[in-house]
Symmetry: C2
Subunit: 420 residues, 2 copies
């Protein structure tokens, strides 16, 4: 061992990649996370739409430390970092570091709208996906026994805010869940009386994509039966309604929010550090904090400028930054240095429905079946763990052939207490 | 349709089998359950010991109604039955019936010991299995950072009450989880410092089994490292200790209770009906309630005497009774009658660990590998749903070859609320 200790705070895509780089070396590695698993967030929406069991997109972190000598894991909530004394404060005690990689990710940003925060579902954590699935399935259990037609209609109306990849993928998956599964499960409910309304503030969906792909996504969602409202904004919500800018009220018991993210709370606990837009930590070209060359910030938490704009908050950026942080630490220990971080944009993609996706890479644009197949394969590839890949592949194959989703379980936790 | 409506209250093994018989007929069938899935309870302990994802042992009931014309499902909590007006009271309204099959199963019986009820884990519901898994895994996260050796030891001590099949299977699976998985995951914890203590009031384990098999189970558990205390009783508990009759205190943060079951609460809501031991409903030879030939009670809720003793509360009894109730209803509609119910005892089995189980059938006794293999195959066979069988088989194969259990996830729900 070099004797140097590297602490990684947060085991999302950035933290995981940094850990993989460092695991092959002779530093002491301590991985800290509030969960004992790495979560494959891009597939959370499939858990929420009954397509996957939650366990399939989580990988136990001790499955990694078990194979890596010199690496350990600490299940803890991080409360802050003392940048001068060089330790991380956690609810399991102080963890001193020589190098620190801060990779705590992001949280949902409701832009101060408390009524929306109180009533909207968002997808950052595994339990949120399970809650949302339970809620959607419950709406279909409640609607048939609702005598008031207006209320029945509100139970079967689903509002999705944000036309980025998460919103689009969720909208498509929800529509397919309703058409192929729930309207078959409930003979009294026709897919035609259900509504999915997508509310997007910009003048198109998937604004990061080329214009043809945006239009394709719009047409495809429309033809599937999703009502897309562009240049519209949600300004408030109750448990049974959503209010748009301009005063329009949509009666709906389900509001899904994917219209904003901000850096995780931890960014605010780093005293004296400059924060950029969305509360992200402004980093140097080598991803360290100004004045603290031993502290790296990677992924959604990092505000890293390239060509005048901060890099987007997405998994490939986090992974590349995690890898860079790990390599830089190794290089420094060997007395070398690396050129500044540079993001290699390999493209992006979003799936809309069965055999329908959009993808762009190296200037090439794909849509339809070929993009959809590429999406499936890449997501399987990036998923962690052989067993998880098998389970996901099995579920996808099953859903493809049988048009059914067997994880349509309502697993609500509030049950009567056991009587003595 | 005959126009007759059959309501099935509870979709465990008894209700499910009755539904399958009636689904092939021309009655109107309404299945009521508080969950939207059938739960394969015999494998709950494998969810609790991180061997299976919870979704794999649940089957959505609407997957059945979808295929069965004339059958519908109602997600509701049943509050009682009006036997004279012939309707079931639920939180979704009154459900009138012509025939009623009451199959609400059982709940854990703590025999009035409130301190035990407050602190013990039991396994009846899916969320309880998840809670227990989370708790066990958390003990191993907390122990290494516990400075007090006495407390550390208590964190790593697991007390199991009841040496019946559930207790024995759970003890074996927990021991294997610790030896093969958790002590590898946590280099600071040796399997030798962990304790599993099984407390059984009788003078042997598996009292329903032949004596050789009881002895085999005892020897096997002992050799695996489980401390079996026979002729011992738990009389109280705190969050950190278990008290035995005689005053012995075992310091332990984990108490698992499988030492008693009683009929579900619903049995007590049937006014004027005679209850037997454990609150079970005393039934006639045709499984109906005295004076109410249109109301059948099957499974754990039914107190059905054969050869002077009530039949045991186990899945095969429930299934056969459910089938009998269904067939009797069909026969009556055709103006026929059936001979009284008779339980055909096909045997029983319990698995203790890898390649180790006991089984008895038709007077033949099996133990070891052959019994274990039979256990695996029969459980796969009785599991509902092709997809679930695949997932379970995959998990078992994976665990067998790789000695790992990937569902070792701590999915606790109490997380910080999202900030605006």
């Amino acid at each position: 061992m070099s004797g140097k200790r590297v602490v990684i705070a947060g085991m999302g895509f950035g933290g995981l990649r940094a850990a993989k780089v460092l695991a092959e070396s002779d530093v002491e590695l301590i991985m800290v996370d509030r969960n004992n698993y790495h979560l494959f967030q891009p597939l959370l929406y499939q858990v929420a739409t009954a397509g996957l069991e939650q366990e399939a997109i989580a990988y136990p972190l001790r499955g990694l430390t078990r194979r890596w000598s010199g690496a350990s894991f600490l299940l803890a909530e991080i409360g802050g970092v003392d940048l001068n004394e060089k330790y991380v404060m956690t609810d399991a005690g102080k963890v001193p570091y020589d190098y620190l990689v801060v990779a705590a990710g992001s949280r949902t940003n409701f832009f101060g709208m408390e009524s929306v925060a109180a009533h909207a579902f968002d997808l950052k954590r595994l339990d949120q996906a399970e809650d949302l699935r339970n809620h959607i399935l419950l709406m279909f259990e409640q609607a048939p026994r609702e005598p008031d037609p207006k209320r029945r209609s509100a139970l079967l109306t689903f509002v999705i805010v944000g036309g980025g990849p998460t919103g689009v993928e969720f909208a498509g998956a929800l529509r397919e869940l309703i058409v192929y599964v729930l309207s078959q499960d409930h003979p009294g409910i026709s897919a035609a009386e259900t509504r999915i309304v997508m509310v997007e503030a910009a003048d198109s969906l998937l604004t990061a994509m080329p214009v043809e792909l945006r239009q394709y996504a719009y047409r495809k969602l429309n033809s599937m039966g999703v009502e897309v409202m562009l240049e519209s904004r949600v300004v408030g919500a109750t448990a049974e309604s959503v209010e748009l800018h301009g005063g329009t009220i949509i009666d709906s018991h389900t509001l899904f929010w994917s219209a904003g993210v901000a850096a995780a709370e931890l960014a605010g606990y780093l005293h004296g550090v400059e924060l950029g837009a969305s509360g992200r930590v402004v980093v140097q070209p080598d991803l360290t904090i100004m004045g603290h060359p031993d502290v790296f910030v990677v992924g959604d938490m990092a505000c890293c400028f390239e060509q005048g704009a901060p890099l987007p908050m997405m998994a490939p950026v986090a992974s590349q930054q995690g890898e860079y942080a790990g390599r830089t630490i190794l290089a420094r220990e060997q007395g070398r240095s690396l050129p500044p971080f540079h993001y290699r944009d390999k493209g992006s993609m979003a799936t809309i429905g069965k055999s329908a996706a959009v993808a762009v890479t190296a200037g090439f644009k794909f849509r339809g079946y070929i993009a959809w197949l590429a999406w499936l394969l890449l997501h399987l590839y990036y998923l962690i763990g052989f067993r998880n890949r098998l389970v996901v592949m099995m579920n996808w194959t099953y859903a493809y052939w049988f048009q059914e989703r067997q994880v349509r379980l309502i697993t609500a936790k509030k049950r009567r207490a056991v009587t003595v």
